[in-house]
Protein backbone atom coordinates (compact mmCIF):
# COMPACT_ATOMS: atom_id res chain seq x y z
CA UNK A 1 0.00 0.00 0.00
CA UNK A 2 1.03 3.65 -0.33
CA UNK A 3 0.55 6.72 1.86
CA UNK A 4 -1.39 9.66 0.42
CA UNK A 5 -3.62 12.62 1.11
CA UNK A 6 -7.10 13.17 -0.32
CA UNK A 7 -6.83 16.38 -2.34
CA UNK A 8 -10.01 16.31 -4.40
CA UNK A 9 -12.97 14.45 -5.77
CA UNK A 10 -14.09 13.45 -9.26
CA UNK A 11 -17.74 13.47 -10.34
CA UNK A 12 -18.79 11.49 -13.43
CA UNK A 13 -22.43 10.90 -14.15
CA UNK A 14 -21.72 8.90 -17.32
CA UNK A 15 -19.55 5.96 -16.26
CA UNK A 16 -19.26 2.21 -16.21
CA UNK A 17 -22.31 0.90 -14.38
CA UNK A 18 -20.57 -0.88 -11.45
CA UNK A 19 -18.88 2.46 -10.66
CA UNK A 20 -22.24 3.96 -9.72
CA UNK A 21 -22.37 4.93 -6.05
CA UNK A 22 -18.59 4.81 -5.76
CA UNK A 23 -16.79 7.89 -4.44
CA UNK A 24 -13.90 8.86 -6.73
CA UNK A 25 -11.27 10.71 -4.72
CA UNK A 26 -8.14 12.44 -6.02
CA UNK A 27 -5.13 11.29 -3.93
CA UNK A 28 -1.60 12.75 -3.82
CA UNK A 29 0.96 10.05 -2.84
CA UNK A 30 3.19 11.01 0.11
CA UNK A 31 6.43 9.87 1.75
CA UNK A 32 6.36 8.89 5.47
CA UNK A 33 7.71 12.39 6.09
CA UNK A 34 4.48 13.58 4.43
CA UNK A 35 6.14 15.29 1.50
CA UNK A 36 4.72 14.87 -2.00
CA UNK A 37 6.07 12.05 -4.15
CA UNK A 38 4.86 10.98 -7.55
CA UNK A 39 1.75 12.15 -9.30
CA UNK A 40 -1.88 12.34 -8.06
CA UNK A 41 -4.33 9.62 -9.07
CA UNK A 42 -8.01 8.79 -8.66
CA UNK A 43 -8.97 6.13 -6.10
CA UNK A 44 -12.24 4.52 -5.16
CA UNK A 45 -12.91 4.63 -1.43
CA UNK A 46 -13.66 1.69 0.88
CA UNK A 47 -13.49 3.50 4.24
CA UNK A 48 -15.25 6.86 3.88
CA UNK A 49 -12.20 9.12 3.59
CA UNK A 50 -12.79 12.87 3.59
CA UNK A 51 -11.08 15.79 1.89
CA UNK A 52 -7.61 16.49 3.27
CA UNK A 53 -7.37 13.25 5.21
CA UNK A 54 -4.17 11.20 5.38
CA UNK A 55 -4.91 7.77 3.94
CA UNK A 56 -3.23 4.67 2.51
CA UNK A 57 -4.36 2.95 -0.65
CA UNK A 58 -3.98 -0.41 -2.35
CA UNK A 59 -3.47 -0.90 -6.10
CA UNK A 60 -4.17 -3.65 -8.62
CA UNK A 61 -6.95 -6.21 -8.85
CA UNK A 62 -7.02 -6.50 -5.04
CA UNK A 63 -8.38 -2.95 -4.89
CA UNK A 64 -11.71 -4.15 -6.28
CA UNK A 65 -12.19 -6.78 -3.54
CA UNK A 66 -13.81 -4.50 -0.93
CA UNK A 67 -16.79 -4.04 -3.24
CA UNK A 68 -17.46 -7.70 -4.05
CA UNK A 69 -19.75 -9.19 -5.24
CA UNK A 70 -19.99 -6.07 -7.40
CA UNK A 71 -17.08 -6.17 -9.87
CA UNK A 72 -16.01 -2.53 -9.66
CA UNK A 73 -13.52 -1.63 -12.41
CA UNK A 74 -10.95 0.05 -10.15
CA UNK A 75 -7.18 -0.33 -9.87
CA UNK A 76 -6.66 1.81 -6.72
CA UNK A 77 -8.75 1.93 -3.54
CA UNK A 78 -8.33 3.77 -0.25
CA UNK A 79 -8.26 1.08 2.45
CA UNK A 80 -7.33 3.02 5.60
CA UNK A 81 -7.44 6.46 7.21
CA UNK A 82 -4.16 7.17 9.00
CA UNK A 83 -4.23 8.46 12.59
CA UNK A 84 -0.46 8.48 13.14
CA UNK A 85 2.73 7.76 11.14
CA UNK A 86 6.02 6.99 12.95
CA UNK A 87 9.02 6.82 10.63
CA UNK A 88 12.67 7.10 11.65
CA UNK A 89 15.33 6.78 8.98
CA UNK A 90 18.82 5.52 9.97
CA UNK A 91 21.53 8.13 9.40
CA UNK A 92 23.45 7.43 6.15
CA UNK A 93 26.51 5.95 7.93
CA UNK A 94 24.43 3.56 10.01
CA UNK A 95 22.84 2.09 6.91
CA UNK A 96 24.38 -1.20 5.83
CA UNK A 97 22.63 -3.65 3.55
Amino acid sequence: MTLGRVVGRVWATVKNRPLEGQRLLVVQPLTPELSKTGKPLVCTDAVGAGAGELVYWCKGKESSFPFLPVEVPTDATIVGIVDEVHAQRAKANERAC
Binding site: L3, Y56, A87, Q88, R89, R95, C97
Partner: protein, 89 residues
Protein backbone atom coordinates in the same frame (compact mmCIF):
# COMPACT_ATOMS: atom_id res chain seq x y z
CA UNK B 1 10.50 -9.70 -3.72
CA UNK B 2 12.56 -6.78 -2.48
CA UNK B 3 15.15 -6.33 0.25
CA UNK B 4 13.86 -3.58 2.53
CA UNK B 5 14.19 -2.04 5.97
CA UNK B 6 11.35 -1.42 8.43
CA UNK B 7 11.61 2.29 9.29
CA UNK B 8 8.36 2.76 11.19
CA UNK B 9 4.69 1.94 11.50
CA UNK B 10 1.34 3.63 11.21
CA UNK B 11 -1.85 3.65 13.26
CA UNK B 12 -5.21 3.57 11.47
CA UNK B 13 -8.34 2.84 13.45
CA UNK B 14 -10.63 3.30 10.45
CA UNK B 15 -9.51 0.74 7.85
CA UNK B 16 -10.73 -2.20 5.79
CA UNK B 17 -11.66 -5.20 7.97
CA UNK B 18 -8.98 -7.40 6.43
CA UNK B 19 -6.28 -5.08 7.81
CA UNK B 20 -7.36 -5.43 11.45
CA UNK B 21 -5.13 -7.52 13.67
CA UNK B 22 -2.02 -6.94 11.56
CA UNK B 23 0.68 -4.33 12.07
CA UNK B 24 0.99 -1.81 9.22
CA UNK B 25 4.71 -1.18 8.81
CA UNK B 26 6.46 1.66 6.96
CA UNK B 27 9.04 -0.14 4.84
CA UNK B 28 11.84 1.34 2.72
CA UNK B 29 12.99 -0.87 -0.19
CA UNK B 30 16.80 -0.94 -0.48
CA UNK B 31 19.38 -1.36 -3.23
CA UNK B 32 22.16 -3.89 -2.59
CA UNK B 33 24.43 -1.09 -1.35
CA UNK B 34 21.86 -0.13 1.27
CA UNK B 35 20.72 3.06 -0.43
CA UNK B 36 17.02 3.83 -0.83
CA UNK B 37 15.30 2.19 -3.78
CA UNK B 38 12.28 4.32 -4.58
CA UNK B 39 9.72 5.49 -2.06
CA UNK B 40 8.85 3.97 1.31
CA UNK B 41 5.66 1.92 1.29
CA UNK B 42 3.07 0.55 3.71
CA UNK B 43 3.12 -3.23 4.16
CA UNK B 44 1.22 -5.58 6.43
CA UNK B 45 3.41 -7.66 8.71
CA UNK B 46 3.18 -11.45 8.58
CA UNK B 47 6.35 -12.31 10.57
CA UNK B 48 6.34 -9.92 13.54
CA UNK B 49 9.15 -7.81 12.12
CA UNK B 50 10.41 -4.93 14.25
CA UNK B 51 11.46 -1.39 13.40
CA UNK B 52 15.03 -1.42 12.07
CA UNK B 53 14.83 -5.01 10.83
CA UNK B 54 15.99 -5.81 7.32
CA UNK B 55 13.15 -7.72 5.71
CA UNK B 56 11.83 -9.46 2.63
CA UNK B 57 8.97 -7.49 1.04
CA UNK B 58 6.44 -8.96 -1.41
CA UNK B 59 4.80 -6.33 -3.59
CA UNK B 60 2.09 -8.24 -5.42
CA UNK B 61 -1.43 -8.60 -4.10
CA UNK B 62 -2.10 -12.32 -4.33
CA UNK B 63 1.03 -13.27 -2.40
CA UNK B 64 0.59 -10.39 0.03
CA UNK B 65 -2.95 -11.26 1.02
CA UNK B 66 -2.28 -15.00 1.25
CA UNK B 67 0.84 -14.38 3.39
CA UNK B 68 -1.33 -12.68 6.00
CA UNK B 69 -4.04 -15.28 5.60
CA UNK B 70 -6.65 -12.92 4.22
CA UNK B 71 -7.72 -14.05 0.74
CA UNK B 72 -9.84 -11.70 -1.40
CA UNK B 73 -8.80 -8.61 0.53
CA UNK B 74 -7.33 -5.26 -0.55
CA UNK B 75 -3.71 -5.87 0.43
CA UNK B 76 -0.93 -5.43 -2.13
CA UNK B 77 2.23 -5.49 0.02
CA UNK B 78 3.44 -7.62 2.95
CA UNK B 79 6.60 -8.30 4.93
CA UNK B 80 7.19 -12.03 4.59
CA UNK B 81 10.61 -12.56 6.16
CA UNK B 82 13.31 -11.11 8.39
CA UNK B 83 16.70 -11.27 6.65
CA UNK B 84 19.66 -12.68 8.62
CA UNK B 85 22.38 -12.41 6.02
CA UNK B 86 22.89 -11.69 2.32
CA UNK B 87 25.79 -13.31 0.47
CA UNK B 88 26.74 -11.62 -2.81
CA UNK B 89 29.22 -12.59 -5.57
Amino acid sequence: MLIARVIGDLVATQKHDSHHGRKALIVQPLNLDGSDRGDAVVALDSVDAGIGDRVLLVTEGYSAMTSVGRPESPIDMAVIGVIDRIDLG
